[in-house]
Subunit: 366 residues, 2 copies
Amino acid sequence: MTELNIIQLGLGKVGQELLRQVAALWEQDRATHLNYIGLADSSGLLLDTNGFYLDDLHDALAVKTANGRLDQAAIGDIDGPIVTNQLISLLRAARIKATIVDLTADTANLPLLAAARAAGHDLVFANKAPLAVDYASYCAIAPTLPSEDAPTGWGRVRHEATVGAGLPVISTLENVLASGDQIKRIEASVSGTLGYICAALDQGLSFSAALRRAHDLGYTEPDPRDDLNGIDAARKALILARRMGLPMELSQVGVDSLIPAGLESTSLDEFWAKLPQVDETYRVKLDAAQKRGNVLRHVALIEDERASVGLREVAADSPLGRLRGSDSIFIWHTVRYSNSPLIVQGPGAGPQVTAAGVLADILGLG
Amino acid sequence: MTELNIIQLGLGKVGQELLRQVAALWEQDRATHLNYIGLADSSGLLLDTNGFYLDDLHDALAVKTANGRLDQAAIGDIDGPIVTNQLISLLRAARIKATIVDLTADTANLPLLAAARAAGHDLVFANKAPLAVDYASYCAIAPTLPSEDAPTGWGRVRHEATVGAGLPVISTLENVLASGDQIKRIEASVSGTLGYICAALDQGLSFSAALRRAHDLGYTEPDPRDDLNGIDAARKALILARRMGLPMELSQVGVDSLIPAGLESTSLDEFWAKLPQVDETYRVKLDAAQKRGNVLRHVALIEDERASVGLREVAADSPLGRLRGSDSIFIWHTVRYSNSPLIVQGPGAGPQVTAAGVLADILGLG
């Protein structure tokens, strides 16, 4: 197997979990072709072109956990802020082809990633943000299908964990398209949080009680409006649509926000206090749906070159309608899967399955 | 992308469909790194180390369709029966690393495949038979995980289409295991035919009427006892179990045959005539199950280092119980997918989706 020289950007929950999973494999003498040469968080990048040892990974985890920042870990030959040209030059001088793994949550590293890819380095993303920027910028890091040529000399791009975490979503899309099939429609529930709330409404909970319970279970962002606005779901729909070949912008994804009117920018306390005002609206909407044998679900839909995310009525006795808890579901209607769709379902969020999705991507490059 | 030199063994329904899919990609100027150098059916092997043109694929399809055999196609430099040592020597002399694709239905080519793999050539299987032979013979062609080392110099092995056709089953198993997760239990319905019959029983059909309908729809083998005996489902369970690391033999997979006692070796006419004798037994069994909120399903179960296939009672309101038509389903319970399993569902048989699964495997090697 080809040795993979990994530079990991981001050491939050997913980043720490990925280090733990790699360390666990090394301890069993597995995945020994993974050579960690760099680790970065917002405090800087630690680099050792010879590669870190198992103990170095443990040290990095211990320092990060204790201090919240990496830069005091006594590992690596070089440390400091990431400077794109310096890093690319250094890799070229050392004749290293790297696999750069973006586990951050913003687009700060996009210039580095674009330059690295053009220089032949491979990219692996769990971070959705760089794949949801304006289309022109996206193209510099856009993945290609196994049946397509990337520009000569460019590195490969993998991003399974950006949609559905460890579920086989992006790989399924790639295989369907690469083998010459055509996607007619994707229906999905891509937000564990909003999916949980919809299923809780079926069980008789009010909207405010359902959101409160999702919040208490740790399923929501600290400010749950960051889930209710639908932006995260829209980013996932955009990533799928772009991989289907649509040159689409995030602003073109239709998004129905579930934040009650007037509560968009109040204090969090006021938001929670006034939230029950919408309970009756949802109860009426669900009652009407149930009279038609339907339920409400938060659905991402990509069809006819359009993408949207929002609350929809679906048959209670359908794969979407039967969805429970915080599971995600992806339903692929294609020319070859026309009578009956291809369905992938399961937990689509969380550090463990997200890191596992990233690790599978990395191993697939070796 | 690396050029892939393909030798395709088998030109039945799946083999013909694969040629059509490759030809369709070439016509769009896609997958041009696929270089077909060999095509074989039972009449012999046509080989051209420079590679076939698009027209050659069309010619081969036309000759096969018209004559039922390939050997009169005017393509290739060399033709004749496959002789293992000759073929391996010839590839070595031409400095060709080949991808040998087994779309046949028996183990006749196993010696060739084992020798080719040891010589560094890659193998892709839709054919289950070579992966279900005795364990010692299996080891010569056994795939390895992305996190494991194969013996130095050996070729890679892919076999997605052996279980669930184009559904992401083997790749999911590989990714789960490679990233260090542990599989606790796999529940699956792997036979479209037997799945169809079980779902038809729920709808009120008798066993004999359900089998007759499956037969009329083309879901069964010409002699439906070749489905009812459960052997094909057992082979799939064995392939999954072996990929989980169990050194198991086919004889160790528990199989409940659904062939009524006494009808195992009668004439086909007598089989159909006497089949309604068992209808009452199934009706009573299903009635009892339904009183407990359950239904009957044909389930492959791998758990605690044991594998079995047979009729089981499952909750009507479970993923297995809700299965309809001839879809397959695969339910993965792992350490990381413990609260809620990972589920893959959809059509798991048929030439189009099987060939697409093979093509995705091939493209993944490039």
